[in-house]
């Protein structure tokens, strides 16, 4: 098959809707357009039935026992907000302490910042050099004021998978709730809310080849029964936890996307690991001074995050403009700060500036991987020829010994 440009290799940011997902969604826009809350006619019943099938499929992909535990939302940011703020508000008489990690998504970190302003105390646990949190650190951080621990399933930048099962044992034993932002890992790495003792989990459809604009919060209903205060007031939908008319076609699509993951996720992960290793080998065989960020052992199948020393990330992105990837470089962020995730690993700001995240997905091919690897290698070589740092490195100058004039 001929290679088609541009190539999308940024599947952690979003994914295309699988045609099988779209196909199931379409009737719910046009002919089956009812409001799932309409109890008095067939249009409503039909929509409600579709929503319930979607809910069951979502429950199944995370090992939830009861589809009633799935609260539908607009996406993972809303789910994260609802989980943290909802639990904090409900349990504030029990305690005011929350534990999370420094490499969480901004939807968690910024929500925690907000809660801190409202009087809650938040402990941000550090990670090791591959981005993993030590379960022992969680154990040590728990106090009698702790109400919630929030640790992501897998990181969106470096793909590191967290030891949730070990953490779940600790939180369960101590009677503290465990929330996980699981968006990146659903269907891709093992995630089972029963086995891992996860009490709340944030999910979204668009990272698993479903539509944008729909997500869910898993809220455990028994052992323990988790309570939370709704953050959106209105018609009392979703058992009073999230008011608002349900986006029926999106929910149908979300359900189908989960169903595909249940049946094909394992095989797909094996394929993605092979593709990722092909990419890594092809780059590493042709270049020196390249480093993998994150864990090789505990890693999302489609993730490869590489620092190309002596080349700046945004400069490299510009050179490979027919390939959609992302960088931890400051220049690609509005804050002009390099990736806080890479900084948390202690890789050094210069390597953070030189990082590229490749996010492989369902529709990438071997041909694409080979093309991208060779393109990147060529451009890195060209940019290194233009880099004063590369020249200094080749002259044997230790860049750390140079008195840089920061600006």
């Amino acid at each position: 098959m001929a290679l088609k440009l541009p190539i999308f290799m940024d599947n952690h940011s979003t994914t295309p809707v699988d045609p099988r997902v779209l196909e199931e969604m379409i009737p719910y826009f046009t002919t089956k357009f009812g409001n799932a809350a309409s109890r008095s006619h067939s249009f409503g019943w039909e929509a409600e039935e579709a929503v319930e099938i979607g809910r069951e499929r979502i429950a199944r992909v995370i090992g939830a026992k009861d589809s009633k535990e799935i609260v539908l939302t607009s996406g993972a940011t809303e789910s994260d907000n609802l989980a943290l703020k909802g639990v904090a508000e409900f349990y504030k008489d029990k305690g005011n302490h929350i534990i999370t990690t420094v490499t969480e998504h901004k939807a968690i970190l910024d929500t925690c910042k907000r809660l801190e302003k409202e009087g809650f105390e938040v402990t941000y646990l550090g990670v090791d050099k591959v981005g993993r949190v030590d379960p022992d650190d969680v154990k040590k951080a728990i106090t009698d004021k702790t109400i919630l621990v929030s640790v992501m399933l897998a990181n969106n930048e470096i793909g590191t998978v967290q030891p949730l099962e070990e953490i779940g044992k600790i939180t369960r034993e101590r009677g503290v709730l465990l929330h996980s932002d699981a968006v990146q890992g659903i269907g891709k790495v093992e995630f089972d809310v029963q086995k891992m003792n996860v009490d709340l989990a944030s999910l979204t459809a668009h990272k698993i080849y479903g539509p944008k604009g729909v997500g869910a919060l898993y809220v455990r209903r028994s052992k323990p029964r988790v309570r939370l205060v709704a953050q959106m007031d209105g018609g009392g939908h979703e058992r009073g936890m999230r008011s608002g008319t349900l986006a029926v076609p999106l929910i149908v699509g979300f359900g189908k996307a989960c169903d595909i993951m249940v049946h094909e996720g394992k095989q797909e992960s094996a394929t993605l690991i092979a593709l990722r290793e092909r990419l890594r080998a092809r780059i590493f065989n042709q270049l020196d001074e390249v480093y993998v960020n994150g864990s090789m052992e505990h890693r999302l199948p489609g993730n490869m995050n590489i620092s190309f020393n002596f080349v700046e990330g945004e400069g490299l992105l510009m050179a490979i403009k027919d390939v959609a990837v992302s960088s931890g470089s400051a220049c690609t962020s509005s804050s002009l700060e390099p990736s806080y995730v890479l900084r948390a690993l202690g890789v050094g700001d210069e390597l953070a500036h030189s990082s590229i995240r490749f996010g492989l997905g369902r529709f990438n091919t071997e041909e694409e991987v080979d093309y991208v690897a060779d393109l990147v290698v060529g451009k890195v070589k060209r940019l290194r020829e233009m880099s004063p740092l590369w020249e200094m490195h080749n002259e044997g100058i230790d860049l750390k010994s140079v008195a840089w004039v920061a600006h």
Binding site: F310, V311, E312, G313, E314, G315, M318, S329, A330, C331, S334, L336, P338, G348, D349, E350, H353, E385, M386, S387, P388, L389, W390, E391, L399, W404, V405, A406, H407
Partner: protein, 132 residues
Amino acid sequence: MAYSTKVIEHYENPKNVGTLDKADPSVGTGLVGAPACGDVMRLQIKVNDAGIIEDAKFKTFGCGSAIASSSLATEWIKGKTVDEAEAIKNSQIVEELNLPPVKIHCSVLAEDAIKSAIADYRKKQSDRRATK
């Protein structure tokens, strides 16, 4: 972020990439920025006896706008006297390349690189006079 045509032009066909002999007394070298900040520019000038910059070279670690700013800077200073080159302002670079606000620091760095190369050249010249 979309780049201006001029930034893309300089990025894809940078002018004056290279290295001059930094031991040469007629060469001034400026190295500004820091790897930890994501941009480092090295700009070098070779000044003839008439005080004219007859050659300029650069190498830059940085984003497209940083590379374009340094490429443009070398183009502009070639053929100018040292004093004329010193008068170049970062705002002129911003204007020429249509740099957005978040990229203004790239032009500042280019201005600093010119000034730093000139300072190095002048220091070499005065050291030379002192030893004569």
